[in-house]
Amino acid sequence: MLPSIEQLNQSYNNSSTTVKKVVEDTLATINSKDTEINSYTEVFNTEALSQAEKLDAKLARGEKLGLLEGIPISVKDAILIEGHKATASSRMLEDYTATYDATVIKKLKEAGAIFLGKTNLDEFAMGASTENSAFGATRNPADTNRVPGGSSGGSAASVAGDMALISIGSDTGGSIRQPASLTGIVGLKPTYGRVSRFGLIAMASSLDQIGPFAHRVIDTAHILQTIEGRDEMDATSAQLETSQLLDIESIRQANVKGMRVGIPKEYFIDGIDADVRKAIDEVIEVYKTLGVEFVEVSLPHTEYAVPTYYIIMPAEVSTNLARFDGIRYGLSELQNSQDLQEVYRASRAKGFGNEPLRRIMLGTYVLSSGYYSSYYGKAKQVQDMIRKDFTNVFAEVDAIITPTSPHTAFNIGEKVNDPVSMYLEDIFTVATNLAGIPGISVPTLSNSGLPIGFQLMTNHFEEQKLLTLAQAIDNIRYDKFNN
């Protein structure tokens, strides 16, 4: 495992390693492993090494590096980095070069992070296995016959396979947390609005949120602190109040004594693998020894979360992806078409893979005249009920604990021809997006077999509580497996 951000920064500043060596070693790992894993769609070899040399020159002048200077980061290929391809793992954008930086990229550049490359995803972030990519499936570093989860599977695999220290992904219904769980790392989906979405290729704008992957919880806190905050380019981004800002030192101390955590009875159902249940129970027992109080709570509309999500999300997909029309950018059949309508229809037929097609069609149907109130209107009503369920529970507890996924990583090809079975992969994660609250997946204390993660959720903008609770188990896990 690569060191933490703080450890790496210390190593740079006390000259026990150089930025160039770390970047060269990580690029060498990508070179040796990624032919099989397929986590990257593009690697920025020259640019990353050039930036590393500049930072080493800074150190040679006797200056110290800031915390994120020289930290090797990969970025989901749905987030724009100016001058680099931004494919969304789709034929539609195979030759598209980003014309500006996403806000998160701008902030990370200013902090001195080194971008190693762009990572694979399910096309336009639609999927739960990273098998829907136009550029081939990504494999799970823990078992290469299995999926890494999705849609940010390339990001998760790059960190789990030590091909990046940090990755930046996006989560619309679980696309950071589920792959983090299946690959054995930490994945954080912040509160909706905490991080600007400007420069993220939109899937479902009211649900999308950008967040980090890392081996350690404290690293996700450092990244969140860097990328969060109000952005004039995203009207839905939030101006954080002082009470909502992170206190990193307090997260590190992870004092969880007296915190109350809810166990929602609707999430601990038949169908959860016995190994997953056992691993979550072990985490709960360890929390109890740290002074955390557990109470059973109820989120009564949980069973309606996935059907609600699979109405609202495709509705937004069908409108967001209407921009890909073969006219202004991306794949175009302009020169092979007789009229304007045919440009649209032929470009979209050729550019979109099967899963975006399914969701565009479904979204078009649920928004069409005569069906709007039966589907979209109803789903918005249920979304409100789900949000109220969480509000009621958070009046009683600080956080909620659940499994992130009902099982460990499944085999490549196992679910790819059964869309409803694949959609149910999001069963424990979508409600978080529907309610707009933050969630994190953290590896359990199990170290046998395939990785298993547990999920914590808190109320809006209570990432301090979320990360403090997560860090408590992370500290114990780190001591258990690294000493």
């Binding site: 014309t99 009211s206 059907p307 069908s318 979109f352 249920v382």
Partner: protein, 96 residues
């Protein structure tokens, strides 16, 4: 549930091959059956919310260029499929 995937494809502006038509005919039924589980809920007393899950500020954006590099215009033009004398080429919108 009444649906015709060819009609929906027309609304979505996508040509459907016979293979994709068959795939969608097969998938649509099972997906709609699944999302129809919402019909079991009594929603008579619920209004359709017109707000987001959180209270967010909706400021008007200033009409300026605070962020983009100097060559943004050229970069955008480079991404266009067909350009003549700096203008985007499209098929005729109005029929003669």
């Amino acid at each position: 549930m009444n649906y015709n995937v060819q009609d929906i494809a027309k609304l979505a502006h996508i040509n459907l091959s016979s293979e994709r038509n068959e795939m969608l005919n097969q998938d649509f039924g099972s997906i709609l059956d699944y999302v129809n589980t919402l019909t079991s809920l009594d929603l008579q007393s619920q209004t359709i919310p017109t707000y987001h899950t959180q209270t967010l500020r909706q400021d008007l954006a200033l009409d300026n260029n605070p962020r983009f590099s100097q060559n943004i215009k050229q970069n955008i033009i480079q991404e266009m499929p067909l350009v003549e004398e700096g203008y985007l080429v499209v098929k005729s919108v109005l029929k003669k």
